[in-house]
Every structure is written in structure tokens, then in C-alpha cells.
């Protein structure tokens, strides 16, 4: 187990290294010229050269990449800025934004809580609703409630998030005025209190959870129907166990195993930012941050957000694999 984890973590570092290299070199393969963007309107050859020197754009790409990685690897961070204007960028150094000079790590730290709350809240919502609907549908297979759930799930997967989100926003905020217009200041739980916080997040949660809830309903239903036809369910009934024990202890336990896998990966993926939902509800999370940085060719910001998101995906993979071995005794970690 310990050795397995260490090996997986080493693999994870390698994966992150590859991702960082690909992102870095891919950016420079695009026609974007950050020096021109940085020097602004009054650009001439001289100012461009100056910018190049300041940001190190004049050095070979490999050297630039090496310097960038140094900031992430060495515990002291690295020194950035031009000669005479050097400053230390503390670890983990993702560099400073080309747009506003703010250290990227600070921006990420600021944006992350909003994304975290959005993702976790939605995850709880879709997990509970999806599993519950799927379970009921499976147990009442062919009945009205089953057809209703399957229909709802079909609606959920096929309704574009962007339409659904704006529809909710228009209906509950603009038309019915049940919820005040989103004020990004309300995104922080510990300063505004739970009521405002809930008001802020409830619609984004529903928006984000819809697609996932629909998928989870279908997966739970299918798994549960399969499981309830298993021989060991018949054995459980033959023992004289009550139907509730049969369904929950023997049935759902097995049916939920694959759910654990996709749930871990879905949440891990979302922690890197829920782009569309954040955009609709003006949540200043990682999703919005990544959109902004891509649109403004802000390489340090792009690198930062990509690596940050990748860490979650890679870690989620490891967590899921370990969890799987915990749930299913037949799975051996090796």
C-alpha cells in the first residue's frame, strides 16, 4: 500500500511535468506575441526589446521553461524581473501575470474557494439526487416513477448548461426576484453568513449539477438493475433478510462501486474550474480565471491554472484507485 502510493505519486509528478511542457511549448507555438501585448500601444522595436529582456523572452524556450520549472521545484522559488529590478517570487512560483503583474499563485488562491464551494455543493446535490432517482427507478422498473426518472435524465443530459443556467437566472433572479442579483462578494461563506452564501450558490449548484445528476441517475439505475439480478441478491433473500437490507446492504453497495470512480474523477475535474457555470453567474473562480487568461494570452496565468487543475485530476485518479481497493476486496493495489 505504502509502496503503491509512492509509485503512484512519482508517476503523478511525471504526468504533471509532461502537462506543463506541453502547455508551455504549445503556447509558444501559437502566433501570440506576449511582448507586443505587454508593451501596449506605443510599441517600437526598442520597447519590445526591453520587454523581451525584462521577461526573458529573448532566451531560448528551453531555458525559459527551465526557469519556470525552477520556480515550482526549488523551495526558495526563483528570482524574476529585469536586471536592477529583481524580486523574489516565492514558492510555488507560477510567475506574474503579463496583464497586471499580480503573482499568478495569489490569483489562483483567491479564485479557488469560489470554485471549491461551487464544485462541492453541486457534487453533493448531483450525487444525492442522481443516486436516489436512479435507485428508485431501478426498484420500480417499468413503473411510472422509472419512466419519469429516465425522462428527466434524458432532459438533463440533453439540455445545454448554458441555456439552463441563463434560464434559471432569468426566472428566479430577474423575473420572480426570489433571489437577489449575484454579488460576487457573497461567494465567501465566512464573511457574509450562510443565507447570502446559499442564495449566491443555489442556482449555480443546480445548473452545474443538472448534467451530472442526469448521468448518475442513468448509471445508478443501470447498475442497480444489474445488481438486483445477481445470484447473491437471491442468496440474501433466501437467508430471510428484509428487503431493505437486501436493497441497501447487498444491492446498493455493489451498484455504487462504479459511481465512486466517476464521482472522484468528476469532482477532481471540476476543481480546476467550472467554466460555463462560473461565466453565467459571474463567479470569480478558476473557470472564469482560466477563460480570462486564455483570452488575454497570459502565459503564466494559463500555465498556473492548467497545472493547478491537472494536480486535482491526477490526485483524484489516485484517490479513486485507492478507494476502489477499499470498497472491493477483490481489487489489489499493485
Amino acid at each position: 500500500m505504502g509502496r503503491y502510493l509512492i509509485r503512484r505519486l512519482i508517476q503523478a509528478v511525471f504526468v504533471l511535468l509532461v502537462i506543463s511542457a506541453i502547455t508551455f511549448f504549445l503556447f509558444w507555438a501559437t502566433p501570440a506575441n506576449p511582448a507586443l501585448l505587454i508593451c501596449g500601444r506605443n510599441c517600437n522595436a526598442e520597447t519590445v526589446a526591453q520587454v523581451n529582456a525584462t521577461y526573458g523572452f529573448d532566451k531560448p524556450l528551453v531555458v525559459q521553461y527551465g526557469q519556470y520549472m525552477q520556480g515550482l521545484v526549488s523551495p526558495g522559488g526563483r528570482t524574476i524581473g529585469s536586471e536592477g529590478n529583481e524580486r523574489n517570487c516565492a514558492w510555488p512560483c507560477f510567475g506574474e501575470s503579463y496583464q497586471n503583474g499580480i503573482p499568478v499563485w495569489n490569483s489562483i488562491k483567491d479564485a479557488f474557494p469560489a470554485t471549491l464551494w461551487l464544485a462541492l455543493g453541486a457534487a453533493v446535490l448531483w450525487l444525492l439526487s442522481g443516486v436516489m432517482l436512479g435507485l428508485i427507478a431501478a426498484l420500480r422498473k417499468g413503473k411510472f416513477i422509472d419512466k419519469f426518472s429516465v425522462g428527466l435524465a434524458l432532459f438533463g443530459v440533453s439540455f445545454p448548461t448554458i441555456v439552463f443556467g441563463y434560464l434559471l437566472l432569468f426566472l428566479f433572479i430577474v423575473k420572480l426576484k426570489w433571489i437577489p442579483f449575484p454579488d460576487t462578494a457573497n461567494a465567501a461563506l465566512f464573511t457574509v453568513g450562510p443565507v447570502k452564501w446559499l442564495q449566491f450558490y443555489i442556482l449555480p449548484w443546480i445548473t452545474l449539477a443538472l448534467v451530472f445528476a442526469a448521468l448518475y441517475t442513468r448509471i445508478t439505475r443501470a447498475n442497480m438493475i444489474d445488481t438486483m439480478n445477481e445470484d447473491y441478491i437471491r442468496t440474501a433473500r433466501a437467508k430471510g433478510l428484509g428487503e431493505r437490507t437486501v436493497v441497501f446492504k447487498h444491492g446498493l453497495r455493489s451498484a455504487l462501486t462504479p459511481i465512486v470512480t466517476i464521482f472522484g474523477l468528476d469532482v477532481g475535474g471540476l476543481l480546476g474550474g467550472a467554466v460555463i457555470t462560473e461565466q453565467i453567474f459571474s463567479i470569480t473562480g478558476l473557470g472564469k480565471f482560466s477563460i480570462d487568461s486564455v483570452l488575454s494570452n497570459d502565459l503564466p496565468a494559463i500555465m498556473g491554472v492548467v497545472l493547478f487543475a491537472a494536480i486535482f485530476v491526477v490526485l483524484a485518479n489516485i484517490v479513486v484507485d485507492v478507494l476502489y481497493a477499499v470498497i472491493d476486496p477483490r481489487v489489489r493495489l499493485s
Binding site: 433473500r237 433466501a238 430471510g240 428484509g242 477483490r330
Partner: protein
């Protein structure tokens, strides 16, 4: 229908009522393709301490009948009719909670494939104790002690350690032993074994069968042994029911079935047993054709489309008239066939017996 087999002399308990009596049992499943008539009028009786074999090909209604005795069709779409009397209680009309109290306690079942019949995520020991605790208001330690005792009894080495193993850590034979131990947790009076040795190799099979016989003596339980292996039947049972197309086609004590069979289907079954002590052309005989569709059962004798002896029938039409299950001789030997008994006996001694 008037078909019945009485195994053993009538018990003197409960004013002569047998321990288990199945009367005109029918199990039908409505499906999209039509009504699947899995069991059509099954009758038999069984006393404690005795073993009844139910034989027949796949799809002849053996397993479905046993699940009906367990009440496991309740809550499904299956339509079960007829009567099942167990120790004075009628099971077909019994409510689900009442039936649940009997399952595992009075009637227990050993399933065919012990790997898929045990939950892969729970320890073998926990699955055993669960069967005990659901019927006994006892502390877990008592249940554990009982489980370890039974694991030991069914021949699992170091049972106190294997108690904590998962099913996948057991070999096939050990899993089947554990299944048997699980079924015995509450000392059931009736044990239904649905092909308990089909998934096992021959040496393990013999061990398991010996074990079941020993346990039967010890616990005085009645056993219904469902199988398509006539060797197992010969070794284990006193009485045999041969099923075909959801109906009993021949029944009687085990000697009648093996030495004086009269139904062409039974002849076919006997002819298909492999013999190691016989040289010859080396090919196994099979019964031509395939089992009938349970949705469109033949109108007449269910075996008619595959029967090679129809020309011996006089005064009846195999394709349109269903023969009655009639008693022949003194003992409870019953046969469902239009050929008259004398003719059948002659056919058996002249044509079938020499080739067995």
C-alpha cells in the same frame, strides 16, 4: 391433474400429513413474448430425513419449482398457483413477511454457483453470521461461534482464520462448503440443493455429496436435490421426479427409475450417462432435438416432438393428447406416456437395457 409421489411411509406426525407436500404447483411468467409456463402442475411429497431428486434438462422447471418453495417468486411478476404445505403451513398464499421468517430458518437453499451466489464484498464469516442473526436474537459472538463450528463441520481447514476471508479467496469446493454451512446456520428442516455440485470437479463433488449425506443424518433434514446428473441422484436420493417441459413425466423410488424406467425421456436420460467401465463405440447417446419452448408447449405429450417410440402408441395421439401421469404396479411408480405399460416394459428390456 392427479400426479403424486409419496416418498417413504407416511409420517405419523401431524395426523399423517407429510412434512412437505407440493400440490398442483404452477409457475408462469408473463413476458413480452408471451406466457412462459415454467411449471405446470407439479406434485410430490417429502418426509424429514429423506432426499428427493428432481431431474431434467435445463429449462424443465426444476429450479423454478424450488424457488417457488422458497417463496422467492413473491414480489416478482411470476404467477404461482397450487399449494405447498410445509410442516402444516401453506407457502403459496403466505405473506412475504411470514415467508421471510421461514427462509433460512425452516427452508434453506444451496445454490449452484457458489462464486456468484456469495456477495463478493463481504467476508465469508459475515455472510454466515448474517444468516444466523436475522433469525436469532443473539449476540454476534454466538453467531460467530456457530459459523466457525459449521465451517469446521463442512471441512474447511482452520475455520477461525478462514472466517475472515472473502469468497474470492476460497477455492470452488471450499466456497460450496461455505454455502452449505451458510444454509445450515439455522438448522433448516428442509434443504433445497440446486445443482450443488455442477460447478465442481468430480472428486470435490463426491466429497460434497458425502458431506450432505452426513449432515442430513445429523440434522434429520429433508433434502430436495435438483440436478441433471443421474449419478448424483443414484448416490443420494430415495425418490426421484423426472421433469420435462414443466411437467412430471415419471416419478418413483430410485430403483424403479434406474432399473424399471418406462418413459422414453427417462430412457434417454439414462442412455446419456457416461460409463467408464464400458468400452464400445465410445460415443455418448444424446436425445435428439431440443427442449420445448415453454411459451409454446406441445399440445399433447411435451416429449412428443423428440420421442422415437410413438409408433408403439395405440388409440391415442401423442401430438394432441396429454397423457395422464398414471401409477403402475404396487409402488408409487408413476409414468406419463401413451404407450401401454406392457409394451413399455418390453421396449425397455429389448431395446434400451442392452445398450445401457
Amino acid at each position: 391433474m392427479t400426479e403424486s409421489v409419496t416418498s417413504a411411509p407416511p409420517a405419523d406426525t401431524r395426523a399423517g400429513k407429510p412434512f412437505l407436500e407440493v400440490k398442483d404447483l404452477q409457475v408462469h411468467f408473463p413476458t413480452d413474448d408471451g406466457l412462459v409456463k415454467a411449471v405446470n402442475g407439479l406434485n410430490f411429497t417429502l418426509e424429514r430425513g429423506k432426499t428427493l431428486g428432481i431431474v431434467g434438462e435445463s429449462g424443465s422447471g426444476k429450479s423454478v419449482s424450488s424457488l417457488a418453495i422458497m417463496g422467492l417468486h413473491k414480489g416478482s411478476k411470476a404467477k404461482v398457483s397450487g399449494e405447498i404445505w410445509l410442516d402444516g403451513a401453506e407457502l403459496v398464499s403466505m405473506s412475504v413477511p411470514e415467508m421471510r421468517a421461514l427462509r433460512g430458518q425452516q427452508v434453506a437453499m444451496i445454490f449452484q454457483d457458489p462464486l456468484s451466489a456469495m456477495h463478493p464484498f463481504y467476508r465469508v464469516g459475515d455472510q454466515l453470521t448474517e444468516a444466523f442473526l436475522v433469525h436469532n436474537n443473539a449476540p454476534k459472538a454466538v453467531a460467530k461461534k456457530r459459523a466457525v463450528e459449521l465451517l469446521d463441520r463442512v471441512g474447511i481447514p482452520s475455520p477461525d482464520k478462514r472466517f475472515f476471508d472473502y469468497p474470492h479467496q476460497f477455492s470452488g469446493g471450499m466456497r460450496q462448503r461455505a454455502m452449505i454451512a451458510m444454509a445450515l446456520m439455522c438448522d433448516p428442516a428442509l434443504l433445497i440443493a440446486d445443482e450443488p455440485t455442477t460447478a465442481l470437479d468430480v472428486t470435490v463433488q463426491a466429497q460434497i455429496l458425502d458431506l450432505m449425506k452426513d449432515l442430513q443424518k445429523e440434522f434429520n433434514s429433508a433434502i430436495i436435490l435438483i440436478t441433471h446428473d443421474l449419478g448424483v441422484v443414484a448416490k443420494m436420493t430415495e425418490n426421484v421426479v423426472v421433469m420435462y417441459g414443466g411437467r412430471v413425466v415419471e416419478s418413483g423410488n430410485v430403483r424403479d427409475i434406474f432399473y424399471r424406467p418406462e418413459m422414453p425421456y427417462t430412457w434417454g436420460l439414462l442412455g446419456s450417462i457416461p460409463r467408464v467401465n464400458r468400452s464400445g463405440d465410445g460415443r455418448l447417446k444424446s436425445i435428439r432435438g431440443t427442449p420445448p419452448s415453454l411459451i409454446n408447449l406441445p399440445k399433447g405429450c411435451p416429449f412428443q416432438p423428440r420421442c422415437d417410440y410413438q409408433e408403439h402408441v395405440e388409440g391415442a395421439n401423442c401430438a394432441t393428447e396429454l397423457p395422464e401421469l398414471l401409477q403402475i404396479g404396487q409402488e408409487q411408480h408413476r409414468v406419463r406416456c401413451h404407450i401401454n405399460s406392457e409394451q413399455r416394459k418390453q421396449l425397455f428390456t429389448e431395446q434400451i437395457k442392452p445398450s445401457l
